[in-house]
C-alpha cells in the first residue's frame, strides 16, 4: 500500500533553487501553486506531498511530525531550537551573516555608547554572539528588513544574512564583521521509521547526484573604516 511522506519547502529566497534541484533529482514538481502531490517518485511505495511554509515554521512542523521532512537554513534552525535531523546539505543557500551599520559608523564609535541597539531576525544567535564577546547590547527582534530598522533610527546596527552586497553599499551601509555563516539543510523528523528513512535516503542520493555547482561565495564588502 502506498504511504504518504510530507515535505515542507521554505517560501521566499531559496524556493526556486530548491524546486529546480528537486526536479533535477527526479521529483516532478509542477510550476505554480502551493501544494503538490508527486505519485510514487523513484518507483517506491510512497507518494510525496510537498507544501510551502514560512521558512521559520518549517522546523516546528518537522519536529512535531506533521511533515516528515523539510528544508531549513541553519540560522533559523538555531533560532527555533528544534530537535530534528539534518542529514543533507545543499550546495546553494550558503550566506554570510554579518554585523552591519550605517556608513561612517565604526565599531569604536558604537562601543563608546552605553549599549548597542541591534535589529535582527535572529535574536538568539545575535545575543549569544555579542554576549560572548563582552558587548552590552539591546536586541530588537524584527522579521522584515533589519536595515530598515537602522535607517529609521530603531537600531544602531543590524545582524542578518548578506545576500546582496551591492545593495548594502548602495543603501549606505557597511559590513563591520562576519559573525557566522548559514547553510541550507534537508531536515527530518527524528521519529522517522525504517521504510521512510529508506525513501529519504534515496531522495538524498538523488539530490547528491544532481547537486548543482556551488554558487560563488558572497563577497563581504569590508571597508577600512575600523
Amino acid at each position: 500500500m502506498t504511504q504518504v511522506i510530507r515535505m515542507a519547502l521554505p517560501e521566499g529566497l531559496d524556493f526556486n533553487l530548491i524546486a529546480k534541484h528537486l526536479r533535477a533529482a527526479g521529483i516532478d514538481l509542477p510550476q505554480g501553486g502551493d501544494m503538490w502531490t508527486i505519485e510514487r517518485p523513484f518507483d517506491m511505495d510512497f507518494d510525496l506531498e510537498i507544501l510551502k511554509l514560512a521558512p521559520v515554521d518549517v522546523g516546528t512542523y518537522v519536529e512535531r511530525g506533521a511533515v516528515q521532512l523539510g528544508v531549513m537554513s541553519t540560522d533559523l534552525l538555531h533560532e527555533s531550537d528544534v530537535d530534528v535531523w539534518r542529514p543533507f546539505t545543499f550546495s546553494f543557500g550558503t550566506y554570510p551573516i554579518i554585523f552591519g551599520t550605517r556608513r561612517g559608523t565604526t565599531l569604536s564609535s558604537l562601543n563608546s555608547r552605553p549599549q548597542i541597539r541591534l535589529a535582527t531576525p535572529i535574536p538568539r544567535f545575535t545575543r549569544e554572539w555579542f554576549a560572548h564577546r563582552g558587548f552590552t547590547t539591546e536586541i530588537l527582534h524584527v522579521t522584515d528588513s533589519a536595515e530598515k530598522a537602522v535607517l529609521l533610527g530603531l537600531a544602531d546596527g543590524f545582524v542578518d544574512r548578506l545576500v546582496h552586497p551591492e545593495r548594502l553599499i548602495a543603501e549606505g551601509f557597511r559590513a563591520v564583521e562576519r559573525v557566522g555563516t548559514t547553510h541550507l539543510k534537508l531536515i527530518v523528523n527524528n521519529a522517522t521509521n525504517s521504510p521512510r528513512r529508506k525513501f529519504i535516503s534515496t531522495l538524498m542520493e538523488a539530490l547528491g547526484n544532481h547537486q548543482p555547482p556551488s554558487p560563488s561565495r558572497v563577497a563581504i564588502p569590508f571597508d577600512e573604516d575600523d
Partner: protein, 369 residues
C-alpha cells in the same frame, strides 16, 4: 484564571487516559519484580547537581528556601532514584540487585524562546547492581511488554551504545568543546558537519570515518560491520560491538526483530548514559516515547559504585501515540447514570446514595438546568 506560563491544566479526558496508562505500566513493572518508590519533587540542588545532566540542570527551576539552601524541582527521575538507592545501599536498608519503579512528575523549562515550563509524567524502572548483559536484556523486555500491553502498534527501539561514541570521540583527540559539537552533529545525522569539524581539527582520517559512520542516516547492523572494518585493531571497540550485537541477536531470537533497529547516532537524552541505550520512537506521535539505557557511573556521584540500567516513558507522548480504540475509555456517560434532582432534594440524593452503595455510576442532573 490568570494566564501563567507555568500552569498546564489537564482535563478529565486526558487525565483518564494518563491514569490508565500509568496503571497498566505499573502492573507490568510489578510483574517483573520492580517495587514502586517515590522520590522528592523538591531536593537540594547541591546534592543532586553532581548527578544531573548539564542540560537538565540548565533547564531546571531553582529557588532559595527559608534557610538559604538552593532547592531544585525534579527535572529527571533517574538521578533522584540513584541518590535514593545509593543512600539505601550505604545504610544497608537495601541490597543489590535493586529493582525500583516510579510514576512521577518532572518539571523543566522548555527549549523554546519563551521559556515556558513543561510538566511531564515519567513512568519507569531502574535495575541497580547488575552489570551483565542480562540486565540490559531485562530492561528492554520490560519496556517492550509495557508498550505491547498498552496496545501500541507504532513504535521502534533505536539502539546505540554511548560507550562506543565516547570511545571514538576520545580517540579523535578533540577537546571537550569540539567533542560536544561533533556529538551534536552525530545526533543530527549530519556527516558533512562531522567531517568539517574534525577535518579542521586535523583528526586522523580513519577516526573521522568511524565517527561519520555513527551518523549514518539509515542506521542498521552494517554500522557495526563498518566500524570493525575501519578500526580492525581496536579491542575495546570490538568488545563493545560484540555486546550490542549480542543484544540485537538475543532480542531478535525472542521475536522482537521488527521492534529493534541498530541506530548508532541515537545519542540524545541525558549525558549520564555509559553503555547500550535506546530511544523509543513513534511516527504516529512524531516523537520519542521514552529513553533508557545503562548508566554505570551515576551512583558513583553519591559514593556508591554500582552499575545500573533503566528506562523511562513519557506519559504524554504515549497518550499521543495511542489510538482511541487502544484504550477502553467511555467517551460519554450513559443517560442511565443520571439522577434528576427536582423539588425533593432528599428523594433525589437518597437515590444517589443508594446507587453509590451499590457501586453504580451516578451523575447528578438538575431538572432546571
Amino acid at each position: 484564571m490568570a494566564d501563567s506560563p507555568y500552569i498546564a491544566p489537564a482535563l478529565e479526558a486526558s487525565l483518564g487516559v494518563r491514569r490508565q496508562v500509568t496503571f497498566q505500566a505499573m502492573r507490568v513493572f510489578s510483574g517483573w519484580g520492580y517495587r514502586e518508590v517515590q522520590v522528592p519533587l523538591i531536593d537540594y540542588f547541591d546534592s543532586l547537581k553532581r548527578a544531573l545532566d548539564p542540560d537538565a540542570a540548565e533547564r531546571s527551576f531553582r529557588f532559595v528556601d527559608r534557610h538559604g539552601n538552593v532547592m531544585i524541582l525534579r527535572t529527571d527521575v533517574t538521578p533522584s532514584v540513584a541518590k535514593l538507592a545509593a543512600y539505601q545501599i550505604e545504610s544497608a536498608a537495601a541490597r543489590v540487585p535493586m529493582r525500583v519503579s516510579y510514576a512521577n512528575k518532572t518539571v523543566r523549562i522548555d527549549r523554546g524562546h519563551d521559556g515556558r515550563a513543561s510538566e511531564t509524567y515519567q513512568l519507569g524502572v531502574e535495575l541497580i547492581g547488575v552489570a551483565t548483559l542480562a540486565g540490559d536484556i531485562e530492561n528492554f523486555l520490560v519496556a517492550l511488554e509495557c508498550l505491547d500491553r498498552l496496545g501500541l502498534d507504532d513504535y521502534q527501539f533505536n539502539v546505540t551504545d554511548h560507550g562506543i561514541a565516547r570511545h571514538l570521540l576520545n580517540a579523535t583527540g578533540a577537546p571537550q568543546r569540539i567533542r560536544e559539537e561533533v556529538h551534536e552533529a552525530i545526533t543530527a545525522r549530519d556527516p558533512t558537519g562531522i567531517r568539517s569539524i574534525l577535518g579542521e581539527l586535523g583528526a586522523r582520517e580513519r577516526f573521522i570515518e568511524a565517527v561519520s559512520t555513527l551518523a549514518d542516516f539509515e542506521g542498521g547492523l552494517h554500522q557495526l560491520v563498518r566500524l570493525q572494518e575501519i578500526l580492525p585493531d581496536d579491542k575495546v571497540l570490538h568488545q563493545r560491538l560484540a555486546r550490542i550485537r549480542n543484544v540485537f541477536t538475543t532480542l531478535s531470537a525472542l521475536g522482537y526483530r521488527d521492534r529493534i533497529r541498530i541506530d548508532m547516532a541515537e545519542l540524545g537524552g541525558a549525558s549520564y548514559y555509559t553503555g547500550i541505550a535506546f530511544n523509543i520512537v513513534s511516527e504516529v506521535a512524531g516523537r520519542s516515547l521514552g529513553r533508557g539505557g545503562r548508566y554505570d557511573d551515576l551512583l558513583a556521584a553519591f559514593n556508591q559504585k554500582q552499575p545500573a540500567v533503566g528506562f523511562s516513558l513519557t506519559t504524554e507522548a504515549i497518550v499521543d501515540a495511542l489510538q482511541p480504540s487502544d484504550l477502553d475509555m467511555p467517551s460519554t456517560r450513559a443517560m442511565s447514570d443520571a439522577v434528576v434532582v427536582g423539588d425533593s432534594l432528599v428523594d433525589a440524593f437518597q437515590e444517589a446514595i443508594n446507587r453509590r452503595l451499590e457501586n453504580r455510576p451516578t451523575r447528578i442532573v438538575s431538572e432546571r438546568s
